[in-house]
């Protein structure tokens, strides 16, 4: 594909509550064996984008660890490859990324040194499959300056943490509102853009001159009349996971057969870093109902309507209901967990009781682990 990829994985927000303390949202574990950024990376790899940069800033340790090798997404190559860009102090800049546009500005040399005519910009916190070639075809056909991938949400969907757009019959964007209090549209921007590389360089430089730092506010909204900005509508599965509730429901969606078939069994595949874990093991007393279980897990208790991530230990006589257990959690005997997200590497003592009474509870346990 004649494009380079940029994945914006810098951000974090308070809607993730305790889950964001440990990691950038792009590194959030999804569907048992993946991390959120795998979807954007796999889409780029499957669209034959050869060169991808990930811009990251907030607590990137988890993310860096996940991206320590680029081979899992087939980016381990001489031409192009995977680049992870964190803010750096240089002779003329010592700021953190002050916004999405600023993160691109601080890495402008990456853009300038590339030869591909187009840039695909995506965020790391969405679960979806998309062939960017189709978006690029559309972009060229519409003679657009910028193409924004968007999705029409069902009536009643709460759009208040998204950018909403209104388009004319030709799909040219007429109105773009960011996190409006009362939105005038239920078509939301998916945070995926295609733009000509030279135009992007030009606009980002202009932004920087004017001390503007945000891609949406200072480029998309500011230039919506002047530039030809088009919307590319998708109808397939797409979900942003940047709040505890959305994160929870995105994981639970994978319990539906149609979602699993779409992501796991239809071409193309989603890739992730391979962990060398043994197969999951079920001892006497294990009972699993409508649940996903990842490798390396040992189950002795009951699991119902839940997603169990890698390397979890579930003790005797435990009950896990409607919950998400993240990687490497030890759950002691006779524990009861319902409506919870248990943070990774946690140790739940025997005879614990956790139940999310009003919505989903995030359980973070720092108890020392004695036995395993």
């Amino acid at each position: 594909m004649r494009a380079i990829g940029i994945i914006l994985a810098g951000g974090n927000n308070h809607r993730m509550k305790e889950l964001s303390q440990k990691r950038a949202i792009g590194a959030m574990p999804i569907a048992g064996s993946y991390r959120a950024i795998d979807f954007a990376l796999s889409n780029m790899s499957n669209s034959h984008i050869q060169k991808v940069a990930v811009f990251t800033q907030y607590n990137a340790r988890s993310l860096n660890e996940h991206l320590s090798s680029s081979k899992w997404w087939d980016f381990g190559r001489k031409q192009g490859g995977l680049f992870v860009m964190t803010p750096a102090v240089t002779a003329d800049n010592s700021f953190w990324y002050r916004g999405t546009a600023d993160s691109i500005y601080q890495n402008l040399s990456f853009l300038k040194a590339s030869h591909e005519p187009y840039v695909v910009i995506a965020s790391a916190d969405c679960v979806y499959k998309l062939d960017f070639n189709k978006v690029l075809e559309y972009h060229i056909e519409k003679k657009a300056d910028i193409t924004v991938v968007c999705k029409e949400m069902e009536q009643g969907f709460n759009v208040d943490r998204y950018g909403t757009i209104r388009m004319n019959e030709d799909c040219r964007i007429e109105d773009f509102e960011e996190k409006a209090v009362v939105a005038r549209s239920n078509t939301i921007s998916c945070g995926i853009y295609i733009i000509r590389r030279r135009l992007l360089v030009e606009m980002i430089e202009k932004c920087a001159e004017e001390d503007r730092y945000d891609f949406v506010r200072d480029i998309l909204i500011r230039y919506k009349g002047q530039k030809r900005i088009y919307g590319y509508k998708i109808t397939e599965y797409w979900k942003n996971i940047a709040s505890v509730n959305d994160y929870f429901s995105a994981n639970m969606d994978f319990l539906k057969p149609e979602v699993r078939d779409y992501f796991f069994k239809t071409y193309p595949d989603i890739y992730s870093k391979v962990d060398d874990l043994p197969p999951a093991k079920y001892n006497v007393g294990a009972k699993i109902m409508n649940s996903l279980v990842a490798s390396g897990t040992i189950v002795n208790g009951t699991v119902e309507d839940s997603v169990i991530f890698r390397q979890t230990f579930i003790g005797n006589n435990c009950t896990i209901k409607n919950s998400i257990i993240l990687n490497d959690v030890y759950i002691g005997d006779n524990s009861y967990i319902e409506n919870c997200i248990v943070e990774s590497h946690g140790t739940i003592r025997a005879n614990s009781y956790h139940k999310g009474e009003n919505g989903i509870e995030v359980v973070v346990e720092h108890t020392d682990r004695y036995v395993m």
């Binding site: 060398d276 043994p278 197969p279 999951a280 007393g285 294990a286 699993i288 996903l292 279980v293």
Partner: protein
């Protein structure tokens, strides 16, 4: 200059004919084991865990699966600039082109490969055992004793010793004599088929003995070294080691993995076993499913009931189906309302709805009783079994079968039904 202290040569060319249809299309080292692994993963993982980063894998019989599995060695971190894993098939020469005619002959034909690394020591391994072993400790033993050839041995019960090559040693573990499958064993130290040689010693022996037909380590090279007066030592190993050469021992070794704390523990944090895993999604259990005492690989969908079984990756088990005491390998699909007892089902098999496997009396297999025994049913890879077929014990099916192949929708105990490919 390229220099490696010790490189490994892994013999992976054998057919393993006692595994019946399981090895009719793949070499034994490429047969699945323990849900997601293949047998060769164990010696390969041992190599990298022991710091041996140069491994030549000698292939000959049905190498396709083995080649795709090994690739450039990424799963074992054996993709190296210098060394790493190299697949070594037999090749044509200007004169004397031949297949690998014996274990040592295979090594002999690759003298150039070994020479290119200027090694001090050569580690000879075979690709068909399940064990975890630190070859570095064995090398230390080899160096300490100024040995020229060290043979790994393990103590076996005296009554079983007659099935093995037995080493007789003095109190310093120096080998004084050895005997192959003796009627009255004088020792219970059985050779595990793992050797460390000084490269000089081995090279000299290989070249001197080159004309011996079917050149073999146990039969020719070790006796040659012994007669020449080289110091030979036996390195005693006391961990788990299992030869999975027969269907029964293969089945048993898999079943041992599902014990609460298995003797061979895959869940240890250190000494991991690595394998190439291509699919990653987690496994799904439906509301009606039941599972107990089993291990299950990634990406499997379980709608039925699984007890005491080892299930591979990407397997589907249909509604109301019962799988008990069985091994189901990767990407096999089992329909609804089936029953499987003591069955070994190879990869990519389709068992349609309502089939029953392992039903009836135990009758000796009519064609290969030494292979198909112990009441096991064995289904070869890519087989198809149509709906509502009943298959008895000690039976074997291989190929895309149709109703016409069965009598009254039944394959009685002890029968063999092979439709495709080379017969075993």
């Amino acid at each position: 200059m390229i220099k490696k202290e010790m490189i490994a040569m892994l013999l992976a060319g054998g057919q393993g004919s006692r595994l019946g249809v399981l090895t009719s299309k793949v070499a034994k080292p490429a047969v699945s084991f323990g849900g997601k692994y293949r047998i060769i993963d164990f010696p390969l993982s041992n190599c990298i865990n022991s710091g041996v980063d140069t491994v030549g894998v000698l292939t000959q019989y049905q190498p396709l699966r083995l080649n795709t599995h090994i690739g450039i060695g990424i799963p074992w971190d054996l993709d190296r600039n210098i060394g790493g894993v190299t697949v070594l098939p037999p090749y044509e020469k200007s004169t004397n082109s031949e297949w690998y005619t014996g274990t040592a002959n295979a090594i002999y034909q690759n003298i150039d490969y070994m020479d290119s690394f200027n090694p001090e020591y050569i580690l000879i391994l075979s690709g068909d055992h399940i064990y975890k072993m630190d070859y570095e400790v064995m090398l230390d033993f080899h160096k300490q004793n100024k040995s020229e050839c060290t043979i790994a041995v393990m103590p076996v019960p005296m009554e079983e010793a007659k099935r093995f090559g037995i080493m007789i040693t003095d109190e310093n573990r120096k080998i004084t004599d050895f005997e192959e499958k003796p009627a009255n064993p004088r020792s219970n130290l059985a050779s595990m088929g793992i050797y460390i040689f000084n490269w000089k010693t081995l090279k000299e022996a290989l070249i001197t003995m080159a004309d011996q037909p079917g050149l073999d380590f146990g039969k020719h090279i070790i006796p040659y070294c012994h007669d020449k007066g080289c110091p030979l030592y036996a390195y005693e190993f006391n961990g788990y080691w299992k030869d999975v050469g027969t269907l029964h021992s293969y089945w048993e070794a898999n079943m041992e993995l599902i014990d609460i704390v298995p003797e061979f523990n895959l869940y240890e944090e250190y000494w991991k076993i690595y394998t190439k895993s291509d699919i990653l999604p987690p496994q799904y259990f439906s509301r009606e499913s039941e599972v107990e005492k089993s291990i299950i690989g990634e990406g499997s969908d379980i709608y039925g009931k699984v007890y005491n079984s080892v299930i591979g990756c990407g397997v589907t088990i249909g509604k109301n189906t019962v799988v008990r005491d069985s091994i189901i390998m990767n990407n096999t699909v089992i329909g609804d309302n089936c029953e499987l007892y003591k069955s070994i089902v190879a990869e990519n098999v389709e068992i349609k709805n309502g089939c029953r496997l392992g039903i009836g009396d135990e009758v000796e297999n009519e064609t290969d009783p030494h292979i198909y025994n112990s009441g096991l049913v064995c289904i070869g890879e890519k087989s198809i079994i149509p709906e509502n077929i009943t298959i008895g014990k000690n039976a074997c099916v291989f190929g895309e079968t149709e109703y016409a192949d069965y009598q009254n929708n039944t394959l009685a105990s002890g029968k063999t039904l092979i439709k495709a490919g080379d017969s075993v």
